[in-house]
Symmetry: C2
Subunit: 391 residues, 2 copies
């Protein structure tokens, strides 16, 4: 059985994701499609626009056979660690082929990864970000810039694959229509970036996005609240105002005196300030907005150094949902998996494996008002409907 893997956030699930699935399905018509998906907090340091169950359900109705949650500890991370965590889960799932979107699908990602395998991009200059140092080092090695977000993620997957025994065939798919950073919906066709769709949703324009997402996503947005940082800003602000420095310092990746900077800036803000005002106040040449947004999630969820290490040492596969085809695959997987396959967040599992994920769910619930983990079983989609809206 061919097992095709995808690493995704689906924030939200849109026509570009559907296009990727349809194109790949043509290449591997009998394969099982397995997705490792971020949960309720994402790689760029932001809450998901709708909860993980809603997004998993959309994916399962649009061609995915099995959705596994990427643990928060792997997810709210820079590209290289995000990729390492996700590719590790793909290996444990027995995935053979990794499909990913790229701005330059013509790149030979495996070869590039070999060229930059020793590039770590540790920045010694204090006025330069890790990301900038990394891209500069990569350019020096390969002879040209790699600076588009999906190309960089693809390279990170390829590097993680090399580290984990080169078990994957890498299949880049040319991104069409909308680049990730584009903020405008393109009126001519049916593709728009996730951020363009979210921006339009934030203005309350559900009708306008209908052409760019499958029908199931449209329906979900009509019945669910759009979650943004604004929902969690009062909680983050409260935590920063009241936390002693030593409790902040104990959190993952709070280094170089960031506990002082984060707390002092929040104290200086006017009472009507929002999350973006705080980010702007904390920003420096050393830290990108994304880096600081991730730190904000770490503080919000109180993720410690120790907890991140624990997930890396004891990874697990948390199932969010499957189709009948996915279920058949699962039966086989159960016999050979060498890490836990988790279907329910029982009290025992919450202590050993899911402590951060469970806590993230409890915080996310405060905004989305839907139970995230307690007593939740994986989704079982009996009749997936490829519900793409006609163009």
């Amino acid at each position: 059985m061919v097992v095709v893997g995808i690493i995704a956030e689906y924030n939200p699930f849109h026509n570009g994701h559907l296009y990727q699935l349809e194109e790949t399905r043509k290449l591997f018509p009998r394969a099982v499609f397995v997705v490792v998906m971020s949960g309720n907090f994402l790689e760029r340091g932001e809450p998901a626009c709708v909860d993980k169950w809603t997004r998993a359900n959309e994916a399962l109705h649009c061609g995915v056979d099995l959705v596994v949650e990427l643990p928060v500890a792997f997810c709210v991370q820079p590209a290289d660690r995000f990729a390492t965590g996700a590719v590790l889960l793909l290996k444990k799932l027995g995935v053979q082929k990794l499909i990913f979107g790229a701005e330059h699908a013509s790149y030979n990602f495996k070869k590039l990864a070999q060229q930059v395998s020793d590039v770590r991009g540790d920045s010694v200059k204090y006025n330069e970000s890790f990301a900038a140092a990394y891209q500069r080092a990569v350019e020096k090695k390969v002879g040209h810039a790699i600076d588009q977000p999906n190309d960089l993620l693809g390279l990170a997957y390829a590097k993680a694959n090399l580290q984990l025994g080169d078990f994957l065939e890498l299949i880049p798919i040319q991104r069409k229509g909308a680049f990730h950073h584009d903020l405008c919906l393109e009126k001519d066709h049916s593709l728009a970036s996730a951020s363009a769709i979210r921006a339009r949703l934030a203005k309350g324009s559900i009708k306008e996005i209908a052409a760019y997402v499958p029908q199931i996503t449209s329906v979900d947005f009509a019945t669910r609240k759009l979650i943004t940082w604004a929902d969690f800003w009062p909680l983050l602000r409260y935590r920063l105002l009241t936390a002693p420095y030593e409790e902040l310092r104990n959190l993952y990746d709070v280094t170089e005196g960031l506990e002082y900077r984060m707390k002092q800036q929040v104290q200086k803000l006017p009472l009507e300030a929002d999350f973006e005002d705080w980010l702007g106040a904390v920003k420096s040449k050393r830290y990108t907005y994304t880096h600081l947004s991730r730190l904000a999630v770490i503080v919000l969820l109180q993720v410690t150094e120790e907890e991140v290490k624990s997930v890396s040492k004891n990874p697990y596969l948390r199932l969010l949902g499957f189709t009948p085809k996915g279920q058949k695959f699962l039966h086989k997987l159960k016999k050979r998996a060498d890490i836990p396959l988790i279907t329910k967040a029982s009290q025992k599992l919450r202590k050993k494996f899911l402590s951060v994920d469970y806590r993230a769910g409890l915080v996310y619930e405060l905004a989305c008002m839907r139970v995230q983990d307690h007593g939740k079983a994986p989704l079982r989609i009996t009749a997936p409907s490829l519900s793409r809206k006609k163009r």
Copy 2:
């Protein structure tokens, strides 16, 4: 100069408080009236209905000459410790006479205090509250029950006075019209309890309370948001959901495994639950609602054992405001005071003395949207107006 002291919360300042001031002014027409007032969080474990500056301003316009803030660490405490902190400040202020309302003004509070000076009421039974054990022990000693809230507070003041050298003349004033627990406004006259007034305000009936408060209080409520536990419940809930047990255990008075009870109950609540639902879930025979509400404030503000000890060891007088008469008194006080007289919450003072009070202000601001401490100077009332509304 006669210095008359009052210990108050003024939550809100109403006609009963005005009556107390007017009656006492008749007894001591030339005295300076000094009030030690709770700040933004109160003895019964709740946020003040309007901020401390607003309440101090009302008092200064209605006959008080000087308002000093009772530190949060003394304030969110059972009656005996609340009284000890407040009476200590009265001593440092040079107060000679303490006026207090009592349900039984005929009691000889000094004599009662001598009779019960060794009664501590430590409850050894785990199904009995501290308050119940104390009242039982008092009744045994004095031969009759003392169970009305203001009588009990009066007794606590009298005990603290004995401990601190018996420097006060105790002057109980018979409470008129409305007992503290009465929840109905009494239509026949102009007196109603603070809780009755708050209950009516919570229903949005500003007009209905006009007869029971001075005009200045009416005007304040017309222009300010009424603050209740509902404003802080999302923050408390978030903190309980995310705090590790060891961080909760480090907080003041979190003993006997209460960290488990508080956290586990918050996890079990439905998403739409409110503060009262949580209190009800945590309640047991061992803990009164008031005890648990105070703990909730301790958790909300992250007050540690160490911080409470530090305030007891290094007390201070934080000035909230004064009239010209109060200012004259202050000039003399400055020369003889043996603890700091604080007019501004400077960064240096915030570290040494005001850490908890400043943090309490930062949290309260999130609800009331008015700066509480940063850069604030004491109120200077040049022309106090006894602005009681005509009956």
